[in-house]
C-alpha cells in the first residue's frame, strides 16, 4: 500500500523506483494543480495592489502562511517567514542574527552529522568574526554524542545548531533532551535544521522550544524554490533585515530606512506567492494522510530494507537502529564504489543517491568517501525494496566476477 497513484511522474513511469526523496520529493497532482490554479485565477503581485485580483493574490499568500503555521504548530503565524528553502533560512540566521550578536571568542556548536547548509554558514561566520566553531562528535551508531555535546557547552556558547533528522543517516535526534542540556548550561540560541523532519514526521514548533527552525518545500511534496524559517518574534524583531528592497521597508529616506513589521521585514522583494500556495497544498496533502502515518509507512519500509540489505554479505549499514530513524538507509557494499552501485541500480530504474550527501564532515568520520543512500516516502512500497535488493545483488555479481 502506498500513495503512488497521486504522483504523476511515478504513474507515467511504472518501472521507476524513486528512492531518493531525501534529496527531493516527487509532487502530487494536488500540488501541481494548486500552483497552476494560482496562476490562472489569482496571479498578481501580493501586498501591492488596490484591486481585487491583487487582494486575491494577497489572500492566497496569507492563507498559505496560516495553513503552514497550523501544520507546524506555530501560533504566531507572522513569525513564519517564507524563504527559498532551508539553505537560505540558515544563512539568514547566521548572517542577520550572527553578525549582530556574536563577537570574537564566542563559541558556536554544530554537529559532525550536519548538512553543509547547517555547517558551512556557521563555520564562515566563526571565521569572519573570530568566534570558535566547535563540532559535537557522534556515537559509533551515528547519533549525537550527548557527552561530547555536554563537554562543549559553556557560558561562551552562543549558538547550538543541529539537524532534527540527518539526511545522510536518517537519525532522528532527541530535540527535547538537547534543548534541555543547552538551556541548562548556556544562554545560546538553538537553531534546528528541519529539512528532513518536516516532510516525514509531526513537527510542532511551539513545543520544541528551539529559537529558529528551517525547512524546504521541495522535500515535502511542495515545489522547488520555496521553504521557510520559523523563529521567535522577539529575536526577529531585534535582528537587522537580511535582504533589503521592496515590501520590507516602512519609510525610505535618502539617508536612512525604517523596516516593516513581521513577516515582511524578512521577505524582501516580490514574494513567491505561487510557491507558497503550492507548499500549503503539500502540507494539506500530508495532513490528510496524517504525519503519523507517513512516519509509520517510512519506518516500516526502512526496517524491511535494512533487514534485507543486512542479510547480504558485504553490506555495511550506517546509522542507528530503525526505531530512531526516518525513511533513510545509508550503506556500502564491499569495495563496490557507491557511484558504481548507483549506476547499476539506475539501469534497473532504481534511483538511489551515491555521494557524500552534503555531509563531508560526517563522511570523514565514517572514514568513507561516499555512501549509497536509499530514502523512502509515501509513494514507495515493497516493490521498491525488491528492486533495490535485486540491484544490489546484481552489482555484487558484476563486481564479484572480478574478484581475484
Amino acid at each position: 500500500m502506498s500513495w503512488k497513484a497521486d504522483f504523476p511522474l511515478l504513474v507515467r513511469n511504472p518501472g521507476l523506483h524513486y528512492v531518493d526523496s531525501a534529496a527531493t520529493s516527487q509532487k502530487p497532482t494536488v500540488v501541481l494543480d494548486a500552483i497552476r490554479n494560482f496562476y490562472e485565477t489569482a496571479n498578481a503581485n501580493p501586498h501591492r495592489g488596490a484591486y481585487a485580483l491583487s487582494v486575491a493574490a494577497t489572500d492566497a499568500y496569507d492563507d498559505a502562511r496560516q495553513l503552514l503555521a497550523r501544520f507546524l504548530g506555530v501560533a504566531d503565524a507572522d513569525a513564519l517567514i517564507f524563504t527559498r528553502g532551508t539553505t537560505e533560512s540558515l544563512n539568514l540566521v547566521a548572517t542577520s542574527w550572527g553578525r549582530s550578536n556574536l563577537a570574537a571568542g564566542d563559541e558556536i556548536v554544530v554537529t559532525a552529522m550536519d548538512h553543509h547548509a547547517n555547517f558551512v554558514p556557521w563555520q564562515q561566520l566563526a571565521i569572519s568574526i573570530g568566534a570558535k566553531l566547535r563540532i559535537c562528535e557522534l556515537t559509533a551508531d551515528g547519533r549525537i554524542d550527548l557527552h561530547s555535546l555536554a563537554s562543549l557547552l559553556n557560558r561562551k556558547t552562543r549558538v547550538v545548531a543541529f539537524n532534527h533528522v540527518s539526511n545522510a543517516l536518517g537519525t532522528i535526534n532527541p530535540v527535547g533532551e538537547i534543548v534541555r542540556m543547552v538551556r541548562d548550561h548556556t544562554a545560546a540560541i538553538i537553531v534546528c535544521d528541519g529539512a528532513q523532519a518536516v516532510p516525514h514526521m509531526t513537527v510542532k514548533f511551539d513545543d520544541l522550544d528551539v529559537d529558529f527552525y528551517a525547512f524546504s518545500g521541495h522535500k515535502m511534496c511542495g515545489p522547488m524554490g520555496i521553504g521557510g524559517l520559523i523563529g521567535r518574534r522577539a529575536l526577529f524583531d531585534s535582528m537587522p533585515p537580511y535582504q533589503t528592497g521592496g515590501d520590507m521597508v516602512e519609510f525610505v529616506h535618502d539617508d536612512v530606512t525604517t523596516w516593516n513589521a513581521l513577516p515582511h521585514k524578512f521577505e524582501a522583494g516580490t514574494p513567491n506567492a505561487a510557491g507558497a500556495v503550492g507548499l500549503a497544498a503539500a502540507a494539506a496533502y500530508l495532513s490528510a494522510i496524517g504525519m503519523e502515518n507517513v512516519l509509520r509507512h517510512e519506518q516500516a519500509l526502512v526496517a524491511e530494507a535494512s533487514e534485507r540489505l543486512a542479510a547480504i554479505e558485504g553490506i555495511t549499514i550506517y546509522g542507528p537502529s530503525s526505531a530512531d530513524r526516518s525513511g533513510v538507509v545509508s550503506f556500502t557494499l564491499d569495495d563496490v564504489h557507491p557511484h558504481d552501485l548507483a549506476t547499476i541500480l539506475d539501469g534497473d530504474g532504481v534511483c538511489i543517491r551515491a555521494g557524500n550527501h552534503c555531509a563531508q564532515p560526517l563522511m570523514r568520520r565514517l572514514d568513507v568517501s561516499a555512501t549509497a543512500r536509499a530514502s523512502f516516502y509515501v509513494y514507495n512500497d515493497t516493490s521498491d525494496i525488491d528492486a533495490l535488493i535485486e540491484g544490489v545483488l546484481k552489482s555484487k555479481e558484476i563486481f564479484g566476477h572480478a574478484v581475484a
Binding site: N13, G15, L16, V336, H337, P338, H339, D340, T343, I344, G347, D348, G349, A354, G355, N356, Q360, M363, V368, S369, A370, I398, F399, H401, A402, V403, A404
Partner: protein
Amino acid sequence: MPSPERSAQIGALYQEMILDHYRRPRNKGDLANAEQTVVMKNPLCGDEIAVHVSFDGDTISDVRFSGRGCSISQASASMMTQLVKGKPLSEIEHIRTRFREMVMGDQAAGEDASLGSARALGGVSQFPARVKCALLAWNALQTAMTAHAE
C-alpha cells in the same frame, strides 16, 4: 529507465577489462622524483586522484597514479598510465583528445586504434553522470603536461 538496451549498456560499461583494472590497477603508487604531481578531486563523490609524471625531453618517461575512486575513474587512470608511458607528448595530446571525444560520445574516436585498450571505456558516453569519473586522471595528466611545458 530500465530496458534491455540499458542492461546491455551496463554490461558494456562494467566489462571484465574495466573491473580488472579497478581491482588490479597498473602503475598505481607514488613515483619517486616525479617532476609533476597533480591532484584532481571530484567533490560530489569525494574521489581524489593524484597523477605523478616524469618527463624525458618531449616524452613521458614514467607515470603513476594514486588515490581512491570508483571503478571508472580507477580503471581510466590505470589504462591511461599504460597508454601514455614512453610516448612523445604530441602523440599523448592526440590520444587525450581522442579519449575525451570518445567519452563525450564521438563514435569515430571510439574506434581509434591509438586508444588501445582504453576503448573499453567508450561505454561511459552512455552515462553522462560518469563522464567526469572517466576524465579525472586525464585532466590531471593534461595539467601536468601544461605545467611541464611552462
